[in-house]
Symmetry: C2
Subunit: 469 residues, 2 copies
């Protein structure tokens, strides 16, 4: 279970004291140990308890990162990369104490190669900043996890979001990384070619490793041309099954939908209340198409036919940007609308992912569980990927409520695993899902452990995450 799994590790007090003194000398004001700095760099976005680092270094160059890693390696002190702190499973908690590397000052776009549709950024660049920077080039970076996360953090947690169904996840959109490894050296995992079969895929090994194998110092990303036309639409279905069947047929027919989001009845109620709207309070799909005027019209028409086949209400659809924003408002506000159902409570945001043929069954069983358990918990899904989020509203100061939520999480994850799904489609393991990883992958977790020990023999990189070492 999530909370019980959080490790509070043995602290290497002597090593930490030595490193604190060293870093103070080297970094001066760029090294901070004040309580407010430490609190800002521990985990704050979920119900998991915060575990504070001992000091924060505001790194500005790769050499800074190397200096910190070398000091920490020499004295066996943990080092934890920090982007914007928007991860959801305790990824930036300092379970064994140690040094937080704050990347907010390594926020430069280093290079844009418009002809090659790629760019190279420092880890602290956020996805919104990158897209503002790119605006004049006609290109954009598509991955959108919701939060304005840093690209280093997004690479480290293998982030995705609403348009993964069209553009893939970070795994598919990182061409290359530079990484400082445990020996303090910087490696480059791949060249800038669009494809390669040159040796082990170190790029994909570091993407999703949650800072446990090395520290990412730059990221080369694939970019996309801004679509000439974007159309958006909304469509309510009589049942969750009907909505999911429409998704399956859309994918099977190869309609290149850019986003296809599922909001359940509770979430639609929340949205109506929050934004004073009057959507049907039924399972609803929000769709978006990217292309030319002609192709998005064709795609929307095809989707409308599929929706009608599954007894949907009329498919509302527009290419007008303002109307599209209005239509999609319910989806964009989903998180805050959900929280507003019970403003006095905290939100526990979790995710699982199943083969899409099992999505309706998994969501329906989860809804029944929510009802039976007496929870308030709206559901939003990236339906094209079989990935969905449950926002459990609870008082995290009440141990009984936390225990109830954790039991629910346990059942949710077991349910997803029984359907050949995964305990996390996009949030990562961090601390919150450690208990489920073994259930999901068995002995493969030991192979991950072998990789970890080989690349980080002293367990300095973000210890206490993903698995027990």
């Amino acid at each position: 279970m999530a909370m019980k799994d959080v490790i509070t590790g043995a602290r290497n007090e002597d090593g930490i004291a030595t490193v604190l003194a060293l870093l103070k000398q080297v970094f001066g004001d760029r090294f901070q140990t004040g309580q407010s700095f430490l609190e800002q760099h521990a985990h704050t976005t979920t119900y998991l308890p915060a575990q504070l680092p001992d000091g924060v270094v505001f790194v500005e160059t790769t050499e800074d990162v190397q200096t910190v890693v070398r000091s920490c390696a020499e004295h066996k002190v943990p080092v934890i990369a920090f982007g914007t702190g928007s991860s959801l499973e305790g990824q930036v908690n300092a379970s064994h104490g140690g040094i937080s590397l704050d990347f907010s000052r390594m926020n430069k776009v280093l290079e844009v190669n418009a002809e090659d549709l790629d760019c190279t950024v420092q880890p602290g660049v956020t996805r919104e900043d990158l897209n503002v920077y790119l605006r004049d080039t006609g290109l954009f970076f598509p991955i959108d996890p919701g939060a304005n996360a840093s690209l280093g953090g997004m690479a480290a947690t293998r982030a995705s979001g609403t348009n993964a169904v069209r553009y893939g996840t970070m795994k598919d959109n990182v061409l290359s990384l530079t990484v400082v490894t445990a020996d303090g050296e910087e490696i480059r995992t791949a060249r800038r070619a669009r494809k390669t079969s040159a040796g082990y895929d170190l790029t994909r090994l570091f993407v999703g490793s949650e800072g446990t194998l090395g520290i990412i110092t730059s990221i080369t990303l694939k970019l996309q041309g801004i679509p000439a036309m974007i159309s958006g639409g909304v469509c309510a279905f009589p049942t969750l099954k009907a909505a999911c069947d429409a998704v399956i047929m859309t994918i099977q027919m190869g309609i290149p939908v850019a986003r296809i989001e599922l909001l359940d009845e509770t979430q639609m109620k929340a949205v109506n209340a929050y934004s004073n709207l009057s959507y049907a309070e039924k399972p609803t799909l929000f769709v978006e198409f990217h292309g030319t005027e002609e192709t998005v019209a064709i795609q929307a028409e095809q989707f409308g036919e599929i929706a009608a086949e599954f007894d949907a209400d009329a498919f509302q659809y527009t290419t007008n940007a303002e109307e599209r924003t209005k239509l999609w408002k319910a989806r964009h506000n989903a998180y805050w609308a959900g929280r507003a159902l019970a403003p006095e409570l905290n939100g526990l945001s979790t995710d699982v992912c199943v083969p899409i043929s099992r999505l309706a069954e998994c969501v329906e069983a989860t809804q029944a569980d929510i009802r039976e358990t007496g929870l308030l918990a709206p559901i939003v899904g990236h339906a094209g990927d079989g990935n969905f989020h449950v926002l459990v509203l609870m008082n995290d100061k009440d141990p009984a409520e936390v225990a109830k939520a954790e039991k629910f999480l346990e059942r949710l994850n077991t349910r997803a695993l029984e359907m050949d799904g995964t305990c996390t489609g996009e949030h990562g393991i961090g601390q919150g899902k450690m208990g489920f990883l073994r259930q999901e992958l068995g002995h493969a977790v030991d192979i991950m452990g072998q990789v970890k020990r080989a690349l980080d023999p002293d367990n300095i990189f973000n210890p206490g995450k993903i698995f027990r070492i």
Copy 2:
């Protein structure tokens, strides 16, 4: 240089003798040591010298694989997976002797999940067999490296081919693997969900590892809906630069071209001679679009406009399957047409990949090098990826010719690396490219070595490939 790099490793004669006796006992007739069996399971498709294994086991089950791996692990004897033997860089050579695992009898499609667009196959299933099997489902597996390779081999070498520009490479199309690791246990690298952020991406670690980290025993693959309409076209350009610029603009505009292949002047001459055709002997693009009747028409029209902008000859284009086959004949026969330029010589097929902005420059410099060196060497490129092949025709019995070809290879790879490209876009490192991997990735190769030693401490899995251990 390629040939000089081929390792002939120290043989563990005692261990090999023990394992041969053991396997004979366990496998009877499914274990072979006859010369013709050994020759068939060594490298035969390139100029690299063959290095024969000591025995061949025709495995039929995962348990068979485990039996062999456990025996080989206990006695520290190499074990080399063998699919169809169509790899090009010496991947199946037994440089230290040992046991070849022949997967031709593990050729079952285990499961097709049409609603989820995925299937699970044994490693010996070939891509053509899979597509025949799938025909009635309306689905297909898109990756097409040319040869009718086994899917296990394609996963192990991170294969791609003509339609990677649309569908990606094996890295993008493998959902999950089962793998027998050095301890003889079988792991599953991921569940069947379309995306996951559960721990390290072991799937991508094994894809492209060329049999050096474990033995793949099943592969879960993404499938695609068979397009309602396929259109194909051919278009000759005044210069290589013009053809490449047309490719860049096509990609930048987001036209979802399914294949976009570049044949240079020499290759077009070869094709005309081989098939008695009368194509213009100019740099030529072969394109293919997948979609509906309406969308392929739109895409072809858009591409035609781009081609015209770069002074192409008239774009010939058809949706008729028979005419399309005829139009594309030149591309399909490219390899044999190239070989027919000098039937008495052998063909050395090599590949590099560069950012597409550098493709024209890299191909033109390579053509100049070919002329200056006095080689006969047609060029075919997967232009949308910046990946191209050079087929060097030479007498591989003549050391002077081999030396000349190897010098050329060295310059070709250095040229690609200087353009931030890779020494191999799709053939892999094997033995042939070992010398270039360090030049490409430097210290990152040591990190690969750490992974290798962690997962295969006794170096039993396909030793002498990718890097020196």
